[in-house]
């Protein structure tokens, strides 16, 4: 079964694609920090950040529709977490409702927090989409490795990316096998079979992990992943990082 890549479009060629992955990792981190540290309600600053991201999307020649569509995945999570904030935050009441004996009030402060959370997380996810669509996954891992991210994390990320689809395929096949023998089970049974499937998937993954480890040992693995590919910072990396950082601090300098 075929699946889409996480790093779809990472094979394109553009200024952003050619940058050193370390530059991109660090710049993304800087961008996310800047967004998170910007005080709530600083709309002009957020507008500038959005412009930066849109500029990067254009510069990296990613299809705008694709990036925007992908960024929508964040909303269910954010809304699930933050939807109740407007109801509980103290402050000036924007609207109030009486439902039976309940008195519910929405405050302006609460709404502002909600909007801020949504805007900030949207900006961050846009940044991560640009990062992952402009860098091949293995380059990203090499970058992490060179930035001295602990090896365990790099290896886990690598195996996750490699085997995610294998396990998804396995789950899909199990589901098909279940559905082809499923003649209208009641609800309790559905949960039971689902539990069995998850357990089965875990055991299979565990056994696969042991076989992979044996395969690694057979080829001289001794606990260290050695990365041979060379990465080099070049002039464009320095220029890019410098200009991005300047843009990131400019709202702070201009308005505070």
């Amino acid at each position: 079964m075929k699946h889409s890549f996480i790093d779809e479009y990472s094979g394109l060629d553009s200024f952003v694609h050619r940058l050193d992955p370390r530059t991109k990792l660090l710049c993304s981190l800087a961008f996310i920090l800047a967004v998170v540290l910007t005080p709530a309600g600083a709309w002009r600053a957020f507008a500038i950040y959005l412009l930066i991201i849109l500029g990067l999307i254009l510069l990296s020649r990613l299809p705008m529709r694709y990036v925007l569509k992908r960024s929508l995945v964040i909303f269910p999570f954010v809304i699930m977490i933050a939807i109740f904030v407007p109801f509980f935050k103290q402050g000036e009441v924007a609207a109030s409702y009486d439902i039976g004996a309940w008195h519910i009030a929405v405050t302006y402060e609460g709404l502002s927090v909600l909007v801020n959370v949504i805007v900030k997380s949207w900006l961050c996810i846009l940044c991560l989409i640009v990062l992952s669509s402009s860098t091949k996954f293995e380059e990203l891992l090499h970058g992490m490795f060179r930035l001295k991210v602990p090896q365990v994390f790099v290896q886990i990320t690598s195996f996750m990316y490699r085997y995610m689809f294998v396990i998804a395929d396995q789950a899909m096949r199990m589901q098909m096998a279940r559905d082809s023998r499923n003649f209208g089970l009641n609800r309790g049974n559905i949960f039971k079979t689902m539990g069995n499937m998850i357990g089965m998937l875990f055991i299979r993954s565990y056994e696969r992990a042991e076989r992979i480890y044996a395969a690694m040992l057979s080829r001289g693995y001794n606990g260290n992943i050695v990365v041979v590919n060379q990465l080099r910072f070049r002039l464009p990396d320095a220029c890019f990082a410098l200009s991005l950082c300047l843009l990131l601090v400019c709202p702070a300098v201009l308005w505070w």
């Binding site: 076989r211 395969a215 057979s218 001289g220 041979v228």
Partner: protein, 253 residues
């Protein structure tokens, strides 16, 4: 055929961690340049025996590979000599692209970058997969995966190739292409399989393993023509034979 011993096993027994008996009193000598098939029903211990050859599993006695004992101090050298190809290429290809997988062994052995590149190129050349270096392993076809899996051990220039079910889940065309490929590799080969077509094409000696024991060891033609022996151990026989005595032999068990 040289008389040097590629593999020498004397009285090897192995018990699985859960107490089940894996191998019992295995005596086996394989000479350099031989192609040996290890056949037997499922669960006979074929894969278990292969895993002993490069010290992933350790049984009761030490094995020697070209005179070198399989013990911790020699393990690096042993693993360079014995190229182990696992049954499921999905397990063998754990890196993100073909280049990284094929270079994994040479890099671990500490070769220089140029040497690693040269070996990767050569290994992929041998299996006919040049130009696939940047492809991700997950998106290869099963036949391509099997080839790359073989390349991942060829890059270490092994002197012994241990293959576990090399033709499983391949279509006939893929199977014959792989057989031809294996035939073109001039190293000592030990192949665990129940694919008797492959075995009869490739191997001059056959060992039948059943319930952890070696029950037969002989020349390929001789063993393949002993239909009753094959049927007794649950192995299919090539077509165009009279099925009657075979079926009764299978039922007897």
């Amino acid at each position: 055929m040289s008389v040097d011993k590629a593999i020498e096993i004397k009285g090897l027994s192995y018990v699985y961690p859960d107490g089940q008996c894996g191998l019992k009193d295995i005596d086996l000598t394989v000479h350099c340049g031989e192609s040996v098939a290890l056949i037997g029903p499922n669960g006979a211990g074929k894969s278990t025996l292969l895993l002993h050859l490069n010290g992933i599993l350790r049984g009761s006695t030490a094995i020697s590979i070209q005179g070198l004992q399989v013990v911790d101090k020699n393990i690096r050298e042993i693993r360079k000599k014995v190229g182990m190809v696992f049954q499921d290429p999905e397990d063998q290809l754990f890196s993100l692209n073909v280049y990284e997988d094929v270079s994994f062994g040479p890099v671990n052995m500490g070769f220089t970058q140029e040497e690693v590149d040269r070996r990767v190129k050569q290994a992929l050349q041998k299996v006919g997969m040049r130009g696939y270096e940047k492809r991700s392993s997950h998106h290869l076809s099963i036949g391509e995966k099997k080839r790359v899996a073989i390349a991942t051990v060829l890059s270490l220039d092994p002197e012994i190739l241990a293959l576990d079910e090399p033709t499983s889940s391949l279509d006939p065309r893929g199977k014959w292409a792989l057989t031809e490929l294996l035939r073109s590799l001039h190293v000592t080969k030990i192949i665990a399989s129940h694919d008797l077509d492959l075995v009869s094409c490739l191997c001059d000696r056959i060992i039948i393993l059943d319930q952890g024991r070696i029950v037969a060891d002989g020349r390929a033609e001789q063993i393949l023509s002993d239909k009753v022996l094959l049927a007794e151990h649950g192995l299919a026989v090539p077509a165009q034979t009279d099925p009657e005595p075979l079926i009764s032999a299978m039922i007897e068990i």
